[in-house]
């Protein structure tokens, strides 16, 4: 267990290292800031896109029609079976009367509708509208619904489900790829900074080793250096993103020409509740890993 004085010393030395290698430290902070800024932008876009898609998915439904002459108890039983499925977010029952009423109101002109009098041409059109948790589950659910006794027909839209699921996968894949590349660049730059720091302090490290410094004592200031760089590199983009997100959402929702005027965006507070710890963790993680890996390689070269 390191002594408190050693920890304080490491923090002081780590800070000094940053000042000594000002240019490289700035370059590293700049790179991590850029990476996390881009990451943040992608994250915000992705999360909002998924949020919007989720809302759209909730509009995707499957309609279940019943056999002719089915009793209301049998319809209720089918409803219970539907309600037990994990794929189902909610389901609504639409009676034949309600279905005809809606059809009349939306598809027919009043005169034409009146000509039917009390007749209900959609007598056998009572149905359940089933809403899904995830559009990708639609196929499985439809197969199940078709197998329930008393079910005559199941209507669904495979095209919408396929498009939404494809967009989701594409976005996730693209974003992950970009983020991985950016993080790789950040680790490389941290590693270069630490390598520079070690080469500047080569003599000091060599003396430390000869005097009998422990590995921890030698490594700690560099690890602190990496962590501070990572931390600053995370705080800066978070501040910037917070301001931009607020303004961006406000603009998109109020701008006269915005096509996204009616879109339901994630609130700033909700978004940053996740983004802050994620960015801090990534920043500190990159700083720690970048310096830790480099130290192992570089310190072996010094006697």
């Amino acid at each position: 267990m390191p002594k408190i004085s050693t920890i304080i010393y490491s923090v002081k030395q780590g800070t000094k290292n940053i000042k000594r290698n000002r240019m490289f430290s700035l370059a590293s902070v700049g790179t991590i800031t850029t990476c996390l800024f881009l990451f943040g932008i992608f994250y915000c876009i992705l999360m909002n896109f998924q949020h919007i898609i989720k809302n759209a998915e909730q509009g995707v439904s499957v309609t279940v029609f019943f056999n002719e002459g089915i009793t209301s108890q049998e319809i209720e039983l089918i409803g219970e079976k539907i309600g037990q499925r994990v794929e189902v977010a909610k389901y609504d029952f639409v009676s034949a009367e309600a279905a005809w009423e809606e059809y009349k109101n939306t598809k027919l002109d009043p005169e034409h509708a009146a000509s039917f009098g009390d007749d209900n041409p959609l007598e056998n059109s009572a149905h359940y509208i089933v809403y899904l948790n995830d559009v990708e589950m639609q196929e499985v659910l439809v197969r199940y619904l078709q197998s329930i006794p008393g079910v005559r027909q199941v209507n669904n839209s495979e095209a919408i489900a396929d498009v939404l699921s494809g967009v989701n996968k594409g976005l996730a894949f693209g974003t992950t790829a970009i983020i991985v590349i950016l993080l790789g660049v950040a680790v490389f730059l941290i590693s270069t900074t630490v390598t520079m720091g070690i080469s500047v302090r080569r003599q000091e490290i060599s003396i430390m080793k000869l005097i009998g410094a422990t590995d921890f004592f030698i490594r700690a200031p560099f690890i602190v250096e990496g962590i501070i760089i990572g931390l600053v590199g995370a705080i800066l983009p978070l501040g910037l993103l917070h301001v931009l997100y607020n303004k961006g959402i406000h603009y998109l929702m109020t701008s006269f020409s915005s096509p996204l005027k009616k879109a339901d965006f994630i609130a700033t507070g909700t978004m940053f509740k996740t983004l802050i710890p994620v960015c801090l963790l990534i920043g500190v993680g990159i700083g720690f890993l970048g310096s830790f890996i480099t130290l192992g390689k570089q310190l072996r070269k010094i006697n």
Binding site: P2, K3, S5, T6, Y9, Q203, E204, S206, I207, M208, K209, L210, I211, G212, A213, T214, D215, F217, N303
Partner: protein, 246 residues
């Protein structure tokens, strides 16, 4: 705890040799034979000169003693323990018992005299109070109390070497290794350093000095190990440089 190895205690208490070289060879990758089949021992409290021309293998001996390098064959024992068997964490403990002084001083240029000496204590995680107490004491012994705020570049060669000596001694080492400590100094400063080393030796510290300085070796009449082309050609218990040549 029974069986626990503490090299610090072993070095301070033993009657066995502090350093024992047994048939040690060291070849560098380029194919150079730095030392050939060297065997000798150094006992606690001895003052030993290692002399020889450039490339004779003197500095390699120091590096082997510090475990900076490993022998190609043969064994180097410290306090009865073979160095090549020391674990990584034991190496730093071992080095804490040894003070080292180099020809080029190896001071940290961006730190004051005080900080350079305190650095050696800081590295072994001495308490701050101990650092504040021990550093001025050591600077006083080497006669640099008044220059504690100076930076190395503001000091003469002799003064820099005295700072290096203070740094080497501040942790109360069992053995002091000095690699050409007077190599960059004028005769007056050289003698000043040797006087300090002798003083350190009188207090019980084993001192090993690698040097070219014939005048000093002849005058001090200590044990002299002479190296030539990587071979130990003589080991005189009390002699001089000239004497060793014969």
């Amino acid at each position: 705890m029974a069986g626990t190895y503490d090299i610090n205690n072993d070095l301070r208490d033993i009657e066995t040799p502090v350093i024992l070289f047994q048939n040690v060879n060291k070849d560098y990758q380029k194919g150079t034979h730095a030392i050939n089949n060297i065997s000798f021992e150094i006992r606690k409290g001895e003052f030993v000169f290692i002399v020889g021309s450039s490339g004779s293998g003197k500095s390699t001996l120091i590096k082997l003693m510090l475990k900076e390098i490993k022998p190609t064959s043969g064994k180097v024992f410290v306090a009865g323990r073979e160095l090549s068997r020391l674990k990584r964490w034991q190496v730093c403990k071992y080095r804490r018992t040894i003070g080292v002084v180099f020809q080029d001083f190896r001071l940290l240029p961006d730190r004051t005299v005080f900080e350079n000496v305190a650095f050696a204590q800081r590295v072994i995680e001495s308490p701050a109070r101990e650092i504040r107490r021990q550093t001025p004491k050591m600077l006083s012994i080497v006669g640099l109390s008044e220059k504690h705020k100076s930076y190395p570049k503001e000091l003469s060669g002799g003064e820099q070497q005295r700072v290096a000596l203070a740094r080497a001694l501040v942790n109360n080492p069992v053995m002091l290794l000095a690699d050409e400590p007077t190599g960059n100094l004028d005769p007056k400063n050289s003698w000043e350093i040797m006087r300090l080393l002798e003083e350190v030796n009188k207090r019980g510290t084993t001192v090993v000095v690698v040097t070219h300085n014939r005048e000093i070796v002849d005058a001090m009449q200590k044990r002299v190990i002479t190296m030539k082309n990587g071979v130990l050609i003589s080991d005189n218990k009390k002699g001089g440089y000239a004497h060793a040549k014969n």
